[in-house]
Every structure is written in C-alpha cells, then in structure tokens.
Amino acid sequence: MIHHTRVFDTIRAEDFFRYLLSIVLNTTTRLNSQGAQVMKFLVTALVSTIAFTASAQASDGGAPDNKVLENVYPGVTFSPYAQRSFPSNVFWGETHLHTGLSLDAGLFGNILGPEDAWRFARGEEIKSSTGLPVKLGRPLDWMVLTDHTDMMGIATDIQRGTPNILAVPKGKEWHEGFKKGGQAAGAAAFDLITNFAQMTLPEQIVADYGPGSRVSTNVWERIVDAAETYNEPGKFTAFIGYEWTSVPKGFNLHRNVILRDGAVRAKQIVPLTTQPPLGTTDPLDLYKWLEDYETRTRGQALALAHNGNLSNGWMFPVDATYAGGKVDKNYVEQRARWEPLYEVTQIKGDGEAHPFLSPDDEFADYDNWDVGNLDLTELKTDEMLAGEYAREGLKRGLMLEAKLGTNPYKFGMVGATDSHTALTTAEEENFFGKSVSVEPSKTRISHPFIESKLGKIPGDLLVASGYQGVWASENTRAAIFDAMLRKETYATTGPRIPVRFFGGWNFTEQDLRSRAPAFRGYEKGVPMGGDMPPMSEGKTAPTFMVYALRDPVGANLDRIQIIKGWLDADGNTQEKVYDVVWSDERVLDGNDKLPPVGNTVDIEAATWTNTIGSSELATVWTDPDFDAQQSAFYYARVIEIPTPRWVLYDKLRFGTQLPKDTKLIHQERAYTSPIWYNPA
C-alpha cells in the first residue's frame, strides 16, 4: 500500500510539473519575445475576462423593456396584428441537446462546446466533431442546451471567494485583488500564475484542487455564460438548462430542466445531480430542488421527461413510483406542478403511441423503440408499454385525476433531438445522428446503436426527430417559457408545420373562413394546451377548429386527425382516432376508412413530389360521440405525405448498403398539445 501512495504522489508531481514545464518552456527558452508575449497576454486576458464577466452580470437586472409594456396596453389600431397580446407566431426550437461537456457525449468523441452548439442552432456553419462542415437548412428560433454538469474549479472559486479559498491567506489576497479589478486584479492574476509556475501555490489550495479538478472551469458557469452570450431577445432565445439524468437500473427516467431566467439567478445555484450523497434519482427530490430554486431566486423553472419508451413501464406509474414511493396525492400534485410538458418524439424513438396499445390506429407504429430499457439489460414485455407511451399517459392521467383529484400527466407535447453531437439536426437530408460515433459515414447504419446479450437496436432505427413549435407573442425567454407553461406548444418529427388547434363550443365554418381564424380561435375558445371553457347554453358537443400549413420547404399534408381519449362510465380509459380533414378529395371506404394518400417517393433519387396531398388543411370538427359526464382530452395529429427517411440519403450519398428490412419511407407528423374537457 505504501508503494501505491508513492506512485500516486509521484504521478501527481510529475503531471503538475509537466504542465508547468510546458509553460516555462514557452516563456523562457524561446529567445524571441513570443513566449513573454504569450505570458503577458495570458495574464491580461485572465484579468479582463474577470472584469468583463462582472460587468455582464451587472446589466442583467431585468428591467421591463418597451416591448413588454406595449403588450400590456392593447388598443385599437389600423393593423389587426399590432398590439395583440395573444401569440401570433410559431417559434421553432428544441429543448434537448448535449455538447462535449456531457461525459457520455465526450466519450463518443464530441469535442464541441456550448458556443459551437449555439452558433450552429443560430444558422452558422461549423465543423462537426468528425471534421465535417455542417449547417442547418434553416436556423432555429430558440433552444435549450441540456448538458450534465459536474466540474468545479479554482478560477471561478477565487472570483466567488469560496470558503476554502478565503481560508488560505494567499487565496484571500487574490480574491480581494480580483474583486477590486483593474491593476489589482492584474497583479493578483500574475501572482497566481507565478505561484502556479513556481510550484509555490499554498499547499492547501493544491490539495483542494488536486489532479482531479485543478484549475478546471466550473462547467455550470460556462453553460450559463454561453447561453447569455447567444441569447438575443427578439431574434434568438438561448435558455439556460440542464439534464437530470436519472437512470436507475438502466430505466430511462431523465428530466430536462429549463430556467426562465438569466445568469444572475442561474448562478445562485448548481444543477441537481444523481450521484449520492449530493444527488438523487427520485423525481420528488427534483421537484424539491425546483421549488427551492424558485423560492431562493424568485425565478421560474420547469422540468420535462423523455424516452418513456426506454423506461420499461416506469414513466407513467399509477400505483407505485420507482423510487419506492406511492402514486399518492402529493406525487400527482407535484408532478402536475413541475412537469407541464413531455418529450414525445426524439432520435431514440417516437413515443406518442404504440400498436399494442392502439391496435386501431394505423399510424401508431411510427419509429417505436420497444426492445427493452436504455442499455438493453432488461427486455420489454407488453405489460410495460402502458407505462411508457404519451397517449396512454394522458389516459392514465384522467384515471388518476378521478381517483386523487389532480391529473399528474396533463402535459403538452415536445419534440427534441437529444442529440449528443452538439448539432441539433432533425431533418432527414441533414441528419448528423445521435452521437459522434454515428455522424454521417458509409458504415454508420451497419453498426447496432445499442447491443447487449439480450438484444439490439440496429443503426438504421435512429429517428431524425424532432423539433418543437411554440406559439408565443415574441421570441424571448419570458414569452417562450410562459407558452411552455400554458402548453401552447407542439411536437413534430422534424418538419416545421404550422398548426393551430382551438377548442370551444361555438366554432363554425364561418370562423375558419374569416380573414384571421386565430382571432376567432382565441375569442371563442382555448388554444392547444388549454382546458375547455364551461359548456355553452344549448350546446351538446365541443367543436374544434384545426388548421395546418405544410412546411414551406417540405412535403404536402395527407390528413389531420383528432385523437380523443376519455374515461368511460365504468372508469376505464378509451381512445379513438378521427380523420377530420384530408387531401385529394378522397372518400371514405365501406368501413369508414380513409384510403392512403399515395406515394411519390423515388427510392433511387431520394426525392418526392408535392403532386399529392395539400399545402393547407383546415376544418371545424364536432365530437360525434361526446358524453358531458366523461372527462376527455383531444389532440391533433397532422400527417405529411410519404417522404424518404434519412437512410435513403445515406444510400444516395455514400452508396451505403441498407439491410433488407430497413424502413425507407415514412410519413412525418406533428402532435399538438391536448385540450382537456372536465365535467365540472
């Protein structure tokens, strides 16, 4: 054992020294002045960084700007769109992206940081980790970066003046120097670097920031600063967030956390982790953390879960939670309060519906991953599925509401990538994969993405999905976050399809034909994510106004469906899918079934034509099976005409051999958040 210690000490000293040597060599053995300049530069740079960070923080006070005030005082104007307080724009973004800061992403070879991810999302061309130039077809309007966070470091601790730094006289001296700024900060920085280079750092500081964390940067601060830098109200919204990666037994129960706030609030906390003793895998603890955050900072935050399809039945529990708790009043209230959204589609499988649960739904089998849990250490059984898919979750929510008084699964729909490449690509012809290991290459499809003794997820099963549309009044953190809270959001598997969905008791065809149907939508009803208003006098069934445009650069639309789920008289959950409007003047067949729209995909060329389908679909639909005594939810699903899957572009560009059973074409889609009906 003593021998081990010796080796350890030596390694530490050697490592330390080797690093110093590189500095010393750079500064002293070069006879030209380059090295000296580098040194001087490093010192001045360190100082100005600190001064700059401080000034950036000071300006984040959050005074109301004119734009906000304008919306508060609507008036009559010439333009019907000006000074309306309701949302008139759909903003496209995503809530789930990892950079090289996330350990697992780094392991796969991701060397990009938050700055790269932001620049890419805003439409700039960058180089991927594998060296490929990459650019989005169209920039996003907003994004949340959700890295895992863990490293803490001396540089920021000195600035902040943590107890252990202040406990050492030298540390205290530096901290005070940095605090003063200017010359004093410069002297402090120089002194720090000199002590570092001379190996005369106080022993205590060397110990505290030993080989594991020496001079490492605090990742959280880095994430916060990057978001601040790229957040541009009105143009691009960069949210501060992180992923709480709870994955007991390999069952995926991750939550993404999104803050409404800027650096001043975000830097008062550090993200919750999952490793005990500091961290936890119990969502009740996460809710506590969120509550603490709001109490302490007076900020706002929300959480949303993803990949129920890899949770082996644990995502939407009805009796007991995986953390050993009960699905009781407290659990349902907390979950309803903190989780207004659910990520329903992403690269690791689409989680809206499953054919086993919805045998009558011909579109229920869209890119499901139903082999097992996240690491395939336990295979899937049919009984697990009900606890995993969004539609079933919504139904279970109605059931729990009847039992406990609160619906814990009353969530809006989110589409995101969960890409670990720092590249938010959800488009089929520009798909950079789940991780750096499956960035574009001739062979990426042939390697199983996950493989264990029990089973595998083949590489061609990755889904180039998805994005989130948010109806908001402006492109700011506040407006988009608030839209998420009221669930006025929807998911798509990638295409940017504008969709409106309103519920009320009095919608007519006339409203749809009016010059601005959305005005009628808000006046006479509620938008997606809302609760039906009390039933109007003399009405017997709810009406829904739904309309969609195709993605301006995408495929035409096949149909719009409304999916209804309800709790029947016996307390059992039911569902039904209605085709409500479709293209090409098709007529229902003898079984009331809508014939398929057709297919124009040219497999060899990976192209399609918009000669079938519609560029717009719109209708007002009345529920023909309504029972006012039964609680229900309704959401719209918009289906595109068939288009090539990403694998066909790989085949075209690389000559990739596709496995025989590879799915080549698909019908992409949008899922709106539901509108709920509750018999009062």
């Binding site: 053995t29 110990a207 717009e616």
Partner: protein, 281 residues
C-alpha cells in the same frame, strides 16, 4: 573556444537537457520525500466547507450533520478509489480520460484568452465582416391569395383582381381562403422567408412600393402583393450591434489563440508517423 562555449550556452537543446537533469533530480527527491509520507487522506476544514457550500448551492440550505458526514465519506471513498485506480494505471489509454484532459486544457486556454477588446478593434472587425452584421431588410405588406388548384385561369384572374385592387377594392374581400398571414407589419426578411420560403422573400425585396402587383409564387400558391413601408438592409453603427460583434470577435479570438497555443505546444514534440502498411486486400 570561448565562442563555442557561448554558442553552446545559447543552444536550446542544452537548456532542455539541463532542465531534464533538474527534473530527474527533482523527481528523485520527491520520491524520497514521498516514501516517508504515510498513506493518508486529510480532509481539510476548507474542503469540508467546500462540500457544505456545494450542498447549499444545490439544495438552498445547509446540510445536516448526517448529510455532511455522508458527503465527507463520499469524498473519501472517491479519493480512495481514485488513488487506487491511478496506482493501477487505469487512467492510461482511457479515451474518456484523454478527452477530458484535452478538454480541460482547452478550457483553460479559452478562459485565459477571452478578452474585452476596445471599440477600435471591434470597429475594425465590424468593417471586415460587414455582411455578417448587416441589419436585415424590414418590410410591411398585404397579400391576396390565389389558389392555383381551383383557378385554371389564374393569370387572367390575377390581372382582373389587380385592376380592382388598384382602384381601391377591399383586399380582405378578394381572393381565396388561406391560413397564411395576410398582413405583415415591419417584419424582418428572414421571418418572411421562414413563412413563405427564401425565393419569395428575395423577390419581395425587389418589388415597387405603394401599388398592387403580382402574382408572386410561394409554395402555397400565388399571391398579389401590396408593399408598404420598407427599410432596406443597411450597415449598422457599432453601437447598434456591439454585443453581437463582441461575441463573434471573442469567439474567433478564442479559436485562434487556442490554435496558436496548440502550435506552440506541438513545436515541442518531434512527431513521426510510420507510413501505413498497405493492406493485403
């Protein structure tokens, strides 16, 4: 002879050797010293406070004595595993460790190199990247939509409608039903491109103001347009875009300085690459 010595004294290789000797001596001494140190882990008061501070930042309260004990024990456990693993050389040839080390050094270099340049430098950067910081064109317009699927005589219909519109007919009472927005007020070109596609937005910028014209085609069909006020794209003053210029300037500087640092470090290595053996088919 003297000149030879002085030349030798300037020889970097000699410096390197001397430093190398010094290092050997140092490590030898360090090893001697280490052999006397017991196998001990000391958790300083500062570290305990640090653990408590971490807890407080996560949970917004002080840890209880039990929680703090658990954290200290967790820390010790990590330290023990860490040391044992290092002693076994488990950090060697581990791609994750290697990437982490690379990332940490990159962080240090980036953090040290981010600086706040003066306005002069930013002004220069703005000039050099004029196109990137151009203020987008802003335009107001109204549209009357014509659906090609239901209008076989679309060009003729368009002509007639244009005459009516330019004689003062109410645009809201003409044309076909559409869900696309009928009126845009001072909207950025990129937003119009998002809604109607890039070609449409580009065409819009070239159209005359103040009269009904068209049809202009988009992915949705044909549009008769009336362009209202327009502000063309223009070069902004630094004050208008200072934040964006600063952000991009610093990002570029960071990258350059990181590359330079890499070059400096790399010069200290002699890199040899064996020619690849030709694969036997």
């Amino acid at each position: 002879m003297i000149s030879k010595i002085s030349r030798l004294a300037r020889e970097p290789l000699l410096h390197f050797l001397l430093i190398g000797v010094a290092l050997f001596v140092y490590f030898d001494l360090a090893r001697e010293g280490a052999s006397e140190a017991p196998n001990r882990i000391h958790i300083s008061n500062g570290q305990v406070q640090q653990l408590a501070a971490n807890f407080k930042r996560t949970w917004s309260r002080q840890p209880t004595a039990t929680e703090l004990d658990a954290m200290v024990e967790g820390h010790v456990r990590e330290e023990v595993f860490y040391r044992e693993a290092l002693a076994m050389g488990l950090d060697q040839n581990d791609p994750q460790v290697r990437r982490r080390m690379r990332m940490k050094l990159e962080f240090i270099l980036e953090d040290l190199s981010s600086q706040d340049p003066g306005d002069e430098q930013l002004e220069q950067y703005l000039q050099q990247n004029a196109e990137k910081f151009e203020t987008e064109a802003v335009v107001s317009f109204r549209q009357v939509y014509l659906n090609p699927e239901t209008r076989p005589q679309l060009p003729e219909d368009a002509r007639q409608l244009l005459t009516q519109l330019n004689s003062g007919a109410d645009p809201d009472s003409l044309g076909d039903q559409t869900m696309s927005v009928r009126r845009y007020e001072r909207e950025r070109e990129s937003v119009i491109a998002r809604d109607f596609g890039k070609p449409f937005a580009r065409e819009l910028t070239g159209l005359p103001e103040g009269e009904w014209i068209g049809p202009v085609y988009s992915p949705f069909g044909a549009h008769l347009l009336h362009i209202g006020a327009r502000v063309d794209a223009h070069q902004p003053q630094l004050a208008e875009v200072r934040n964006e210029v600063l952000r991009d300037f610093v990002a570029e500087q960071r990258q350059q300085q990181k590359d330079q640092a890499y070059q400096l470090m790399r010069e200290d290595y002699e890199v040899t690459v064996e020619a690849p053996t030709t694969a036997a088919q």
